[in-house]
C-alpha cells in the first residue's frame, strides 16, 4: 500500500492532530495540505483539487464540518472529491447525518494510523473505479444524438443540410424539418407532409464554415403525395425570388 504523491487536504482546528496526521500520511508518500478553518480550506480549493479530504466536524468558532459538506455539494468539481470524516463525535445520528451529506467514510478519533491509511486507500480505490466500459448487450443499445441544423435546399428526392455533424458516406440520419412546418403555419398552407424524414448520405459531408458541414441526403420513403407537396413548395419559393 502506498499513497505516493496522493494530494490530501486535512481540515482540522486542532494543530496537534494536524501535525500527527501529516506525519502519518507523509510517511506513506502523500502530499499533505493543512487548513485550520473553512475559509482557508475554500481558498486552497479555489486553485487546487486534492485527491481526498480529511474533515473534522467540530471546528473553531462553533463552525460545524457539515457546513463544508453543504457548500461542497453545490460545486461539481468539489463534489467529486472523496471526503473522510475524522471526529471524536461518535453519536449515531451525527454519523448518519454526515453520511447523508455524501461523505465516503467516517473514522473516530483517536484512531490507529493503519486504520486511517486503510480507509484512505479503500476510498481512493472506489474513486478509481468510477468509470465503466460498456459491454454486450449494452453495445446493442443505440444512443441517439441530435442537434440543430439548417435545411439549405430541398427537393423531392434529396435535401442538403448544414450542421455541426460531419457524416461518413452511407450513414443514416433522421431529420425533422421544423422550418417547413413553420412555413405551412405562417402561410396557412395545409399540406400532407410528414416533417420527420429518414435520410441517407450517399457521399460524405463537405466542410462549409468553421465546425459546419454540408451534407447531401437522399430522402427515403417519400410518397407520391409528398413529392407533389415538395414540388409545390419549391415552385412557391422560386416565384417569390
Amino acid at each position: 500500500m502506498n499513497l505516493q504523491s496522493t494530494k490530501i487536504l486535512v481540515i482540522d482546528d486542532d494543530p496537534k492532530f494536524r501535525i500527527l496526521t501529516n506525519k502519518i500520511l507523509t510517511s506513506q508518500g502523500a502530499v499533505v495540505k493543512e487548513c485550520e478553518d473553512l475559509n482557508s480550506a475554500f481558498d486552497y480549493l479555489k486553485n487546487n483539487i486534492p485527491d481526498l479530504i480529511l474533515l473534522d466536524l467540530q471546528l473553531s468558532n462553533d463552525v460545524h464540518g457539515s457546513e463544508f459538506l453543504k457548500i461542497r455539494n453545490t460545486v461539481a468539481k468539489l463534489a467529486r472529491i472523496p471526503v473522510i470524516i475524522c471526529s471524536s463525535d461518535n453519536r449515531r445520528e451525527m454519523v448518519t447525518n454526515v453520511i447523508d451529506l455524501g461523505v465516503n467514510d467516517y473514522i473516530i478519533k483517536p484512531y490507529r494510523p493503519d486504520w486511517l491509511i486503510k480507509k484512505i486507500y479503500r476510498c481512493l480505490k472506489e474513486q478509481d473505479a468510477v468509470a465503466f466500459t460498456f459491454t454486450e448487450p449494452m453495445l446493442q443499445q443505440k444512443i441517439t444524438v441530435s442537434c440543430e441544423a439548417d435545411l439549405i435546399a430541398l427537393g423531392e428526392a434529396s435535401c442538403i443540410i448544414r450542421s455541426p455533424i460531419s457524416f461518413s458516406r452511407l450513414s443514416e440520419t433522421k431529420i425533422t424539418l421544423e422550418g417547413i412546418s413553420e412555413y405551412m403555419k405562417k402561410n396557412d398552407v395545409k399540406i400532407d407532409f410528414n416533417p420527420q424524414k429518414i435520410c441517407r448520405s450517399n457521399f460524405s459531408s463537405r466542410p462549409s464554415a468553421k465546425g459546419q458541414y454540408d451534407t447531401l441526403l437522399t430522402l427515403l420513403g417519400v410518397s407520391e403525395k409528398e413529392a407533389h407537396e415538395i414540388r409545390k413548395l419549391k415552385s412557391g419559393w422560386a416565384d417569390k425570388k
Binding site: A76, I143, G155, E156, I165, G211, G221
Partner: protein, 232 residues
C-alpha cells in the same frame, strides 16, 4: 442513350402492370417478376443495374427484407436495391437499410422522383439529375434538427464516450437520448456538450459528451450507475 436494366419483384399484378407501363419506355428496360424464385433466376441469368423489391411478397409478410439480406450476405451482390412498400413507418425504413437496401420508396410513388433517384444512384452523379434538383430554402424556413445513432463505448463521472459513423464538432450542444441514457441518467433526453472528438478510421469517429458542471444530478446518477455496474 444508355438503357438501365431493372429487375423488380412484387406479387401485385396490377402494380407490375403499372411499372411496365410507366418505366418500359425511354431510359429503362424493366422485367417484373411475381415470385422470389422467378426473381433469383432472372437475377443470375442477366446483368442488372438495379432491383425493385416489394416488402410483402407471396412468400410471406416482409419476405422482401429477407430477400435483400440474402442478396447482400450470401450472394455478396452490391447492386442498388430499392425497397417498395405501402408503409412509411420510420422503423420499417430503418430496418430496410439495416438489411442492406439502398433506398426506400413509399407506394404509390412519384415516377419523376423514381427516375431521378435511379439515375442519381446509377450515374453516381453528385448533383441530382433532372429537374428534381433540390432548390434553396428561404433562410426563414431553414431550421431543422438532424440526428444520428451512436454506440456507447465508456462512461465516467465527467461524461460519456460514443462511437459512430459521424463526427460532431467540438463545443456543440446536443440532445442525447435512448433507453441506456434513460437508465443511467434517469432522464429521457439530456443536453450535453461535445468536448472531444477523434477519427478512429475512415468512417468511424469517437465523440466525448461532457456532463455540465452545473448539473450535479447527472454526475451523481452516472456515478451511482457506474458503481452499481462495477459491483463496488
Amino acid at each position: 442513350m444508355k438503357k438501365f436494366n431493372i429487375l423488380s419483384v412484387d406479387d401485385d399484378p396490377n402494380f407490375n402492370k403499372l411499372l411496365q407501363h410507366k418505366l418500359n419506355q425511354g431510359m429503362f428496360n424493366l422485367i417484373t417478376t411475381a415470385t422470389t424464385k422467378d426473381f433469383f433466376s432472372h437475377l443470375s441469368e442477366n446483368v442488372w443495374d438495379a432491383c425493385l423489391v416489394d416488402v410483402n411478397l407471396k412468400e410471406g409478410h416482409e419476405a422482401g427484407f429477407t430477400l435483400v439480406k440474402y442478396i447482400r450476405e450470401h450472394l455478396k451482390n452490391p447492386i442498388p436495391i430499392l425497397i417498395i412498400s405501402h408503409d412509411d413507418d420510420h422503423v420499417k425504413i430503418a430496418h430496410a437499410l439495416e438489411c442492406g437496401a439502398t433506398d426506400y420508396l413509399t407506394k404509390p410513388f412519384d415516377f419523376d422522383m423514381f427516375t431521378t433517384k435511379i439515375t442519381y444512384l446509377l450515374e453516381e452523379n453528385q448533383d441530382l439529375a433532372g429537374q428534381l434538383k433540390a432548390r434553396p430554402v428561404p433562410s426563414l424556413y431553414r431550421s431543422c434538427r438532424t440526428s444520428a445513432d451512436f454506440t456507447p463505448q465508456s462512461i465516467n463521472e465527467e461524461g460519456i464516450t460514443l462511437i459512430g459513423p459521424c463526427c460532431v464538432s467540438k463545443g456543440v450542444m446536443v440532445e442525447v437520448g435512448g433507453p441506456l441514457i434513460a437508465e443511467i441518467l434517469e432522464s429521457d433526453i439530456v443536453r450535453l456538450m461535445v468536448t472531444r472528438n477523434s477519427k478512429l478510421d475512415a468512417e468511424t469517429y469517437s465523440i466525448f459528451l461532457e456532463f455540465g458542471e452545473e448539473d450535479l444530478k447527472l454526475v451523481e446518477n452516472a456515478r451511482k450507475w457506474i458503481l452499481k455496474k462495477s459491483g463496488v
